[in-house]
């Protein structure tokens, strides 16, 4: 009789194994347990199969032999019950492929990476999502015929520039005073052929058909209006003074602008234009 515990061949009438002392009598003799998954022999009391790692806790302890491999409950199993080290056994059944280290961790790693990507996309989507369903407020259109810009030219700036130009036009020591009501009052010395005149020039500025128009209303000296004398207003003041001022203002307006309106206050000439 073969000992179910250690495989030692005892006499047929032996009640205990000669090698390990295992009881050999009756049906309670414990046959060597086998793994229900791969059929490998396992040591008594083992919790997991040494070959395939299958938990053996649920395996009934007195299992005689795997039913698929051993049709009769003989104590001597046809399997190589002698070898205790299951790793030396041949390959297990095809129904349970061996779990190699790389393959075992590959799937969780792929899952990890996939879930990380999905989660990032989810967070970004949650972050960006509100912007996709939003409607922006309408742009301010404004008055289609109204001005886009207003250019406020300071009196001091005009004086600085005009006094640099006017001496070439025969006017010296010019002082320009911007007044409300689109009025520009300028005092200057005019060097006539035999005499130097202290001139006061009053001009009104306006816009006609998008052009700056400076109309001289008064040219006087010592309270005497000189408008009708010697064509002074047309020749000297009209061309020299108003021409210089108009050129200066047009420069500030820039090319391509449509001048809509011009006005004055105490300190500025205000040009309103559409760009």
């Amino acid at each position: 009789m073969q000992c179910p515990q250690c495989g030692f061949e005892n006499r047929d009438d032996a009640r205990f194994c000669k090698r390990c002392g295992q009881s050999l009598s009756g049906a309670s003799a414990v046959a060597p347990p086998f793994c229900p998954a791969c059929g490998a022999a396992v040591k008594p009391g083992a919790r997991f199969c040494a070959r395939c790692g299958r938990p053996l806790a649920a395996t009934p302890a007195p299992q005689v032999a795997p039913p698929a491999h051993s049709p009769r409950p003989a104590p001597v199993a046809p399997r190589p019950t002698v070898s205790a080290d299951a790793r030396d056994l041949p390959a297990p059944s095809p129904s349970q492929p061996p779990a190699r280290g790389t393959a075992r961790w590959l799937f969780p790693l792929i899952t990890l990476a996939l879930m990380a990507c999905l989660s990032c996309c989810g967070v970004l989507a949650v972050g960006v999502w509100p912007s996709l369903g939003e409607t922006p407020p309408a742009a301010l259109v404004g008055d289609p015929a109204g001005p886009d810009i207003a250019i406020l030219v300071r009196e001091s700036y005009l004086n600085r520039n005009l006094t640099a130009i006017l001496p070439d036009k025969g006017l010296t020591d010019a002082l320009l005073d911007v007044q409300p009501g689109n009025l520009i009052v300028t005092t200057a010395r005019f060097d006539a052929r035999f005499v130097t005149l202290e001139l006061k020039i009053v001009a009104q500025i306006s816009v006609v058909n998008g052009e700056i128009v400076i109309e001289v209303q008064e040219v006087s000296t010592g309270g005497q209006n000189l408008m009708d004398f010697l064509g002074l207003s047309e020749v000297t003041v009209g061309e020299n003074f108003t021409g210089a001022l108009r050129q200066q203002l047009e420069n500030e307006l820039g090319a391509g602008s449509q001048l809509l309106n011009i006005s004055t206050d105490e300190d500025h000439i205000i040009l309103k234009a559409r760009l």
Partner: protein
């Protein structure tokens, strides 16, 4: 020999860990991009020769006409040299709405500088993602459309201010 673990448990651990790492990474990404630049205070108004008042409606027209990717939006000028904007972009099938804030300042060289203080698409801040070249393009456009179209040669921007309805450029003659 180590204890063997069921593959199902490994998958479950992988999924949970992946979700945790993914959510944490996404949260960190969203918050790492979060950035708001504080606007510098406006300096005192220096002497100037010309004041150019630009209407808010023109700023809106200029912005919407500057880029075909903008299909709608609004610029709202704010007191203190800044503005907020809301624009809708055409990005393929999507039309996201971007909110932002800009500051206007006078820069070296007599030009006006536009700087981004904040750009957000939904809850995601895009300020760190805006390329420098894009801001250079915006600055070039604004200077061409505003500074370059007014004032005679020799004038440069010395200050910029805003109120609720207009952008004000202060130009001075170069010494």
């Amino acid at each position: 020999m180590g204890t063997k673990v069921k593959p199902g448990v490994l998958v479950l651990i992988g999924v949970l860990a992946g979700m945790f790492v993914g959510l944490a990474g996404g949260w960190l990404l969203v918050h790492a991009l979060e950035q708001t630049v504080a606007a510098e205070p406006l300096p005192a108004l220096p002497p100037y020769d010309i004041e150019v008042v630009v209407e808010e409606s023109y700023v809106n027209r200029m912005m919407l006409g500057s880029n075909s990717a903008l299909i709608g939006g609004n610029v709202d000028l704010q007191p203190g040299g800044g503005a907020t904007f809301v624009v809708q972009l055409a990005a393929g099938p999507f039309k996201p709405v971007v909110h932002g804030e800009v500051a206007f300042r006078a820069a070296d060289g007599g030009r006006m500088a536009v700087s981004l203080l904040q750009v957000k698409m939904g809850r995601l801040s895009l300020l760190r993602l805006v390329p420098g070249s894009m801001m250079e393009d915006i600055n070039a456009l604004v200077n061409d459309q505003l500074v370059g179209r007014v004032g005679s040669k020799g004038l440069e921007v010395v200050a910029v201010a805003t109120d609720d309805t207009s952008l004000r450029l202060y130009l001075a003659q170069r010494e």
